[in-house]
């Protein structure tokens, strides 16, 4: 084998197997921005620590040796705090783009999703959800444990969805080691009245023209697989007669939906079953 043989063989192998489609610069841009933000935050913490130490040291010299007064551990998970935490984290991002987000609706459901958990029983929740907006333009973030949705070959499933025309777009990326699945789909309501928010079915991309324009909804969705069972779904759904109109109506860039999805604060433990 000559050098030339090897070079030829490598190039032939690469060009025969290379996946089609260009690489998306949005992914490294987003990861890079986040790294910079994290560094700046750590720099701020370090500065506070240095200033704090400079202030504390003279007093520390006078104090007795440290005993019980240790710094507090991070607050333990409290399911009852999740409505506030979810709202704060999600609102911070959505507020960048949505003029008046309005009030939040929080819901928590156990594994039997028909039941709605009241406050005081949120630790039984397998799903927690915050919703903003109205039926015709809705933002929703769900945190849930659902092994069936977290398992499987993510990229292959995504490819199958687009091949079956169940999604206009289905892209898989990795962010901080987590799979992130971005989709754009069309839906129509299951009920007769399109404004009765009682469930939706997916409209195939080649059947969009067959649905009355007033019944068409489009949804951008970001699904983040955080563990074997834990997922976050972040969606923006709009009612629009065409995909073009929907794209003009969406307000939150996908990057920001991803930012919400990968937020580590948006996580719940496997529920306590009573």
């Amino acid at each position: 084998m000559t050098d030339h043989d090897l070079a030829t063989l490598l190039r032939a192998d690469v060009s025969a197997t290379e996946p089609p489609g260009a690489l998306d610069p949005a992914v490294p841009l987003r990861m890079g921005r986040r790294r910079i933000r994290r560094r700046m935050a750590l720099g701020g913490i370090a500065l506070v620590a240095v200033v704090g130490a400079a202030t504390v040291v003279p007093f520390a010299l006078l104090d007795p040796p440290p005993g019980e007064d240790r710094p507090a551990d991070p607050a333990p998970y409290d399911a009852e705090e999740m409505p506030r935490i979810m709202d704060e984290h999600v609102r911070t991002v959505l507020d960048r783009h949505v003029g008046s987000l309005g009030p939040v609706t929080f819901s928590a459901q156990p594994e039997a999703i028909s039941e709605e958990l009241p406050p005081g029983r949120y630790d039984e929740a397998a799903t927690m959800r915050v919703t903003y907006g109205s039926v015709i333009h809705r933002y929703q973030v769900s945190v849930l444990h659902a092994g069936s949705e977290a398992e499987g070959p993510v990229r292959r499933i995504c490819h199958r969805e687009t091949a079956a025309r169940m999604a206009f777009v289905c892209r898989v990326t990795r962010e901080d080691g987590m799979f992130v699945v971005q989709t754009l789909r069309a839906f129509q309501p299951t009920g007769v009245n399109p404004l009765n928010d009682r469930g939706y079915t997916v409209v195939r991309t080649d059947a969009v023209d067959e649905v009355p324009p007033g019944r068409l909804f489009f949804e951008r969705s970001v699904k983040v697989i955080k563990s074997d069972t834990l997922l976050t779904y972040v969606t923006e759904r709009v009612r629009a007669p065409t995909l073009l109109k929907a794209n003009q109506t969406f307000k939150v860039p996908v990057d920001d939906l991803v930012e919400i999805g990968i937020d580590p604060a948006l996580a719940i433990p496997v529920p306590d079953t009573p």
Binding site: D3, D13, A22, L23, P28, G32, R39
Partner: protein, 163 residues
Amino acid sequence: MRRDQREREFTEFYAASAAALRRTAYVVVRDWHVAEDLTQQAFAKLYVAWPRVREETRMAYARRTVVNECLSHLRRHRPETPTDAVPDRIVDAPDVRGDLDAALLLLPARQRAIVALRFLDDLSVAEVGRLLGIADGTVKSQTNRALETLRKRLPQLALEELR
């Protein structure tokens, strides 16, 4: 540097170089999806370092970061089982592409990186040495070892070329 300028320059550089670097990564890790992830991670690091990296060294910086990401990934995941016992001869091996894959997987990760840089990216011994932080002599000896392994695994290739 203003953020919009950084992002514009970065996006242009990405459009011009990401595909080629993903190919390099693929030769090292032998999986397109992993290659893409590692290329994206390398570019995220490049984005952070962007104001400090001179324009004339950007490609070398990006390539080094991609290769380092690949080697770190392989260290963490160890998908390969390098062996000294390379078969002397493959009697029945019509599938050259499948053979190439198997042959490359016989190489230790760093040898695969050297093969990618030298034979796919056409870098000189000195450039590969600088990029991997190793002596020119090491690049040469590792290249020779890699070629020796590949020759044993792919004997039919040279024969085909001669016909």
